[in-house]
């Protein structure tokens, strides 16, 4: 099956070169980097190299990189560390459109007596920095704002936010899981204190992430019980995955330009042609700065899961902004925060491209999607009314 995989914000294909890089570290070079013997030592060297590669992509120093198991762990570690390091401060600021890794943690912390402010967004998914200025105070321990939104691709003005945060002396964390590899980063010149990234979003395997921790920022480890990662994250290193992440970061730097030219052009063409072919569609976050690879598009009068199932029949993989599971029957928290009208909030589809996406694949989607939307609308009582009135 030749799947057309346009769900790269969910996870990505492991690059073959990344896989080759990690392959020897399972059955042959399986030593523990902490061991005293040569056999562990050679793995240690590769882990160091990986750390330097990750650091290079971020414009950071190698010792500012802590390997973790995933983006979620990095997020949890960052926020928990900040509140433990400043126990007298009881206020946390985040946004309503964060990934659940951050949002759930913050909401849980309200039960422990923390004040949490969730910044709102406008109809295009943009933050209001005046609101941030109003709510931040000397009690604020940490501000955690994602770099780019996973559902809409909307990019936040991280350095402007950081400047406000620094003025108040709070720590600044950003969940950059979707941004790393797509947006050039330079931590040396940044206001960010901590940054989360995840391997499987940039063509490394699942189960590996990293936390950037600015030198001098106080840190309290999330996992204890070992000296690894300079006592900042206990547990034997996932050597093969770390080595894979290093290679993936090296490749990401090489492909960054392509992401922002060829991939972006594909996304723009997909967006343009779908908008031209399908009436009553709208782009979520269309006028905000966005990631080059993401298109969140809403179709009125037709339900998202149905669109995905019909696309899936054509081996096209995308995702929906609404989860029609009864666990969360409401459209996604991101679209709701943006106030996307309910006539189309349930019909939002996200296409997320990668450097492996081809012209032909985009052609196929442009060909297959319009009849699917039409069919869905013909089945729907609201869609029929709309089609009848549109003639």
């Amino acid at each position: 099956m030749n799947e057309i995989y346009l769900d790269n914000n969910a996870t990505t294909k492991v690059d073959e070169a990344v896989f080759e890089e990690m392959r020897p570290y399972f059955c042959e070079l399986y030593g523990n980097p902490s061991s005293m013997h040569f056999f562990g030592g050679q793995v240690q060297k590769k882990v160091d190299e990986a750390r330097s590669r990750v650091a290079a992509l971020l414009g950071a120093a190698p010792e500012e990189i802590i390997f973790t198991a995933c983006g979620t762990e990095s997020d949890n570690a960052a926020i928990r560390s900040a509140i433990e390091a400043f126990p007298e401060k009881r206020h946390i600021i985040t946004t309503r459109v964060e990934h659940p890794a951050v949002l759930t943690l913050c909401r849980n912390l309200t039960k422990k007596g923390y004040r949490v402010t969730e910044l709102g967004v406008d109809g295009e998914g943009r933050l209001d920095l005046e609101e941030l200025k109003r709510v931040i105070d000397d009690d604020t321990a940490i501000v955690s704002v994602m770099y780019a939104n996973n559902e809409t691709g909307v990019v936040f003005p991280i350095e402007e936010i950081g400047a406000i945060v620094k003025e108040r002396g709070a720590l600044f964390h950003t969940d950059a899981v979707q941004a790393v590899g797509k947006i050039p980063l330079d931590m040396a010149a940044s206001t960010v204190d901590m940054l989360s990234l995840s391997g499987h979003k940039l063509h490394a395997p699942k189960g590996i992430g990293a936390l950037y921790l600015r030198r001098g920022v106080p840190f309290r480890p999330f996992l204890v019980g070992g000296h690894q990662e300079k006592n900042r994250r206990a547990g034997t290193e996932a050597t093969s995955s770390i080595i894979a992440l290093g290679k993936a970061c090296e490749l990401a730097a090489q492909y960054m330009e392509e992401e922002n030219t060829r991939v972006k052009a594909l996304r723009d063409r997909l967006e343009r042609e779908l908008m031209a072919l399908i009436p009553n569609a709208r782009i979520n976050g269309g006028s905000a700065p966005r990631l080059p690879n993401t298109l969140s598009i809403a179709f009125e009068f037709v339900e998202g899961e149905l669109i995905l199932l019909y696309l899936s029949e054509k081996v096209i993989c995308a995702s929906s902004g609404s989860a029609c599971t009864s666990g969360s029957l409401e459209p996604s928290h991101v679209l709701r925060a943006m106030g996307v009208p309910f006539t189309c909030a349930h019909g939002s589809i996200r296409f997320s491209l990668s450097r492996f996406t081809t012209d032909e694949e985009i052609d196929t989607v442009i060909r297959e999607l319009p009849p699917i939307i039409r069919r869905g609308r013909e089945m729907s009582p609201f869609g029929r009314e709309f089609l009848a009135s549109a003639g």
């Binding site: 009068f301 037709v302 339900e303 998202g304 899961e305 149905l306 199932l309 019909y310 029949e313 609404s322 029609c324 599971t325 009864s326 666990g327 969360s328 029957l329 409401e330 459209p331 309910f342 006539t343 349930h346 013909e378 089945m379 729907s380 009582p381 609201f382 869609g383 029929r384």
Partner: protein
Amino acid sequence: MWDYTDKVKEHFLNPRNVGDIQDADAIGEVGSLACGDALKLFLKLDDKKERIVDAKFQTFGCGSAIASSSALTEMIKGKTLDEALGITNQEIADFLGGLPEEKMHCSVMGQEALEVAIAKYRGHAVPSHSHDHLHDEQEGEIVCKCFGLTDGFLRKVIAQNRLHTAEQVTHFTKAGGACGGCIPKIKELIAEVLGEQVEEARKKPEKLTNLRKMQLIQDVLEKEIRPQLWADGGDLELVDIDGPKVQIAFRKACAGCVSSGYTAKFVEQKLRDLVSSDITVEEVEG
């Protein structure tokens, strides 16, 4: 990805009876765009106005909503109105080879639309249940504001489907799936309905066929009892059912646990409450 049966897939890929009936005798509408799903059902009756000779639907919703609507229209054709009213949401799900529990609300929506259509045709008040923002003739008290669901409707679904947890109620009706504010009230309703059921059972012991009883016992073990044991690191296995005698073997933390005798009693009480009062539970090595 949902684990849809082939039949569900077949019905959402090739739905039967999509469309409308110009001179329909009865039309039932439930749901809304805001709710995320909606169904409009059209019925055509024979000359004697007894039997359904044609049925068509329009549905806004996910794959299983389309499949449930398609199944419903197939099931009611040729039936009298009373026969059609006897169809339960479980039967709609069964027709499709089952639905994921999270999607059971789709089958409930089908049953609802049918009730609304027939009630309106007969000039009765529209049933007091529907998550139906199109009609305002609702009775009862709204329990779930997000989806506009009344206590009467929730009670009925809880009783018919023997629901025991708030999560199940969300899966079957969506109530509680948005803001969650109504969950405490849903829990109260479950307790009330369950209490009534136990009362009922005491008064007139339901005549269960052996097959049905075995199914129920397995159901209660799977859905009620084992999850509770898992929480404590234990587990059990059903070894045999012989009439009212149920044999179980304990596993993991429960095996050899000093209080396993107590646990066996707990299992027995649960089965007596929920299935039949003559059940005895025996622990065996297995």
